[in-house]
């Protein structure tokens, strides 16, 4: 094992795949000469040249469509959004072109493409730069959606995403790029659609994904001090969702809390709650609880940011609720 940053894990994944397959290229704003807005693609221009590491103008709709067209014609693009906030001006090409092309063409035109970039809040960035559209993309058939939470998962999943013949949305976080973690030496892949039990526990299941899982770890540490054993499941992929791992855990703990950064309505937490009540109703000893962002746009002032986001305190309260300890 070696210890590297999240951004380095992403870079290793892209670099290894680009060495392996000439058809893979990286396109986006500031990915080449600037070495990446968040330094994810640092050094890649030097290795692969301007043909395969391509700076674009600020034109997300245009370069997303160009990526999809290139994928229809045999290439395997990685399209970087500086953040997924900006993907909304390109969402027509993601939903109406990328996700439906295989189906509309009766199987003739697959779109092997990865759209990657940062999602969610990242400090006091104001309402327009703090969106979590994870569940929006997960709602759409034809896409796969991956939201990793540590460097090792990020690398193995990004490599799988690049090799996948279907379009993959790959969501990162500005607040994870600097995170360090152990990553296996040598080549490895992690399959899309398989959750990972990050901590084994027996009293309550906490399901989460992406960077907000860091708040879950803090909560689990605090709960452990009170002899409450939390099992933490990292979904890693939110389309498809590994329901089996969640169900199995709930059958063991009989209690479930879902923690997610997105807004509550039509969220991944609602989906998990539906699925578990449908398939493990008799195993539940308490109503399922969820911790999402508050149902408001995120403001700028620090006093308005912190209480609007999921945090360890809220997770602890939800866990104590399902354990009838509050």
């Amino acid at each position: 094992m070696k210890t590297i940053q999240f951004r380095e894990a992403l870079r290793e994944a892209m670099t290894e795949e680009m060495r392996r397959d000439e058809r893979v290229f990286l396109m986006g704003e500031e990915v080449a000469e600037y070495n990446g807005a968040y330094k994810v693609s640092q050094g890649m221009l030097a290795e692969f040249g301007a043909k395969r590491v391509i700076d674009t103008p600020i034109a997300e709709l245009g370069f997303t469509g160009i990526g999809v067209g290139a994928a229809m014609n045999g290439l395997r693009p990685i399209i970087e959004f500086m953040t997924f906030n900006f993907s909304l001006v390109a969402i027509d090409q993601i939903i109406n072109s990328a996700s439906k092309m295989l189906n509309m063409s009766g199987g003739q035109f697959p779109v092997p493409i990865v759209f990657r970039g940062a999602t969610g809040s990242a400090g006091q960035l104001g309402a327009q730069h703090s969106n979590s559209f994870d569940s929006w993309y997960a709602n759409c058939p034809g896409l796969k959606v991956v939201v990793p939470s540590n460097p090792a998962d990020a690398k193995g999943l990004l490599k799988s995403a690049i090799r996948d013949n279907d379009p993959v949305i790959f969501m990162e976080s500005e607040q994870m790029y600097g995170d360090k973690g152990e990553v296996p030496e040598g080549e490895y892949l992690i399959p899309i659609g398989v959750a990972d039990i990050k901590r084994v526990g027996s009293d309550v299941t906490i399901v989460s994904f992406g960077k907000i899982i860091k708040e879950v770890y803090k909560a689990a540490d605090e709960l452990a001090k009170e002899n409450i054993s939390a099992e933490v499941i990292d979904l890693r992929s939110i389309r498809p969702i590994d329901y089996a791992t969640v169900i199995e855990s709930v059958k063991k703990t009989n209690r479930l809390v879902v923690v997610e950064e997105a807004w509550p309505l039509a969220a991944i937490s609602s989906e998990i709650a539906y699925y578990v009540q449908k398939n493990a109703f008799d195993y539940l000893d308490a109503p399922i609880r969820r911790v999402n962002s508050e149902d408001v746009p995120l403001s700028y002032a620090s006093t308005l940011v912190e209480p609007a986001l999921p945090n360890a305190g809220k997770v602890i309260r939800a866990v104590k609720d399902v354990l009838y300890l509050s």
Binding site: L61, G69, A70, M72, Q93, S105, G106
Partner: protein
């Protein structure tokens, strides 16, 4: 450059075989679409249905200027393009019927014809969405060092979309081998070009990106062929995209549900005098390349082809219900949520 007004053809610049091919292809498109219109009224064809009648010279003239290895992509008025690329019309008709034998297996319908075999990258239903896709298809050919060019067609309505400007800018910056054709039939559904912008000569939009841009008489195969041919040569030499505003006209409504109250009958009649099929026929008659009997033979050949297509579509099966879960992902064991 001067504004082009469609006019009647004079003389013949191309060999007999080319004229005969244009005539046959355009007649096939015309009769096919007339039949599709009837079948729509009979509710054999459902959904939206946009007919190509009047615009045939654009597809026919462009095709003779392209290689089979070149790519074509267009919007939702897309029945004619796969046919002119070489597909048997029965596969388009079957698609219109929603049958499993259709060129998109009955999953696309009128607006989403596709053919990988004939390098037809589809009919696309979101106005202007195909403009960046066309640039992307061309990007891949340039990346791979192929000499294929991409012909990307759009209507006059699409030029007001932002996608056009972003795609034009990158296509020019990166010198992508793409030819953009605006099939300017003067109406974005019911809204005339004049009502959508102060810029009525649509080729001028290319100037903002230094894109070589021309206006072309779209009621004549000759002029379309010549313009596409020069554009393809420019693209193959690595000199990048071209914009062609092709002035054409649709005789029918925007779609089958359009009564056409936004334009006068007289305007439609004036354009019918410039009918692209009649112009090609006249040129051939002047050269004595075809006589009345030849015309009759051609008409009956095309009619038989259309009827064969209808019969094929009628007799083909609808997609099996199991097809619902096919072609959504390439992954064959994708775990769909079913409850």
């Amino acid at each position: 450059m001067p504004t082009v007004t469609p006019k009647k053809s004079i003389g013949t610049k191309f060999p007999k075989e080319t004229y005969l091919w244009w005539y046959e292809q355009m007649l096939l498109m015309r009769r096919f679409e007339e039949r599709a219109g009837q079948l729509y009224i009979q509710q054999k064809i459902r959904g939206f249905c946009h007919l190509y009648i009047g615009q045939e010279a654009v597809a026919a003239g462009a095709e003779t200027a392209l290689k089979k290895t070149d790519r074509v992509i267009t919007a939702y008025r897309d029945h004619a393009h796969p046919i002119v690329r070489g597909m048997h019309p029965k596969f388009v008709m079957a698609e219109l019927f929603g049958k499993a034998t259709g060129c998109s297996k009955g999953k696309g319908g009128s607006m989403h014809m596709f053919s990988k075999e004939f390098n037809f990258f589809g009919g696309h239903g979101i106005v202007g969405g195909q403009i960046p896709l066309g640039a992307g298809i061309a990007f891949a050919d340039k990346y791979n060092g192929n000499d294929s060019v991409t012909l990307c067609l759009m209507g006059d309505g699409a030029v007001r979309q932002g996608a056009l400007h972003e795609a034009f800018n990158m296509a020019m910056t990166w010198k992508l081998p793409v030819i953009y054709i605006i099939e300017n039939n003067n109406y974005a559904m019911g809204t005339s070009v004049e009502r959508t912008s102060n810029v009525h000569d649509l080729y001028k939009l290319g100037a903002a990106y230094d894109m070589p841009s021309f206006q072309v008489d779209g009621m004549r195969c000759e002029t379309v062929h010549e313009a596409v041919s020069s554009a393809a040569e420019r693209a193959r030499k690595g000199n990048g995209p071209t914009l062609l505003e092709v002035k054409t006209y649709r005789y029918r409504g925007h779609s089958m549900s359009d009564p056409g109250t936004y334009r006068s009958k007289d305007e439609v009649e004036q354009y019918k005098k410039l009918d692209p099929i009649e112009q090609v026929l006249e040129a051939m008659k002047q050269n004595k390349w075809i006589d009345d009997k030849g015309v009759e033979t051609m008409e009956s050949k095309v009619k038989m082809l259309v009827e064969e297509s209808v019969k094929f579509a009628e007799e083909s099966p609808f997609p099996d219900v199991s097809e619902i879960y096919h072609d959504v992902y390439t992954q064959t064991d994708y775990p769909y949520i079913k409850d």
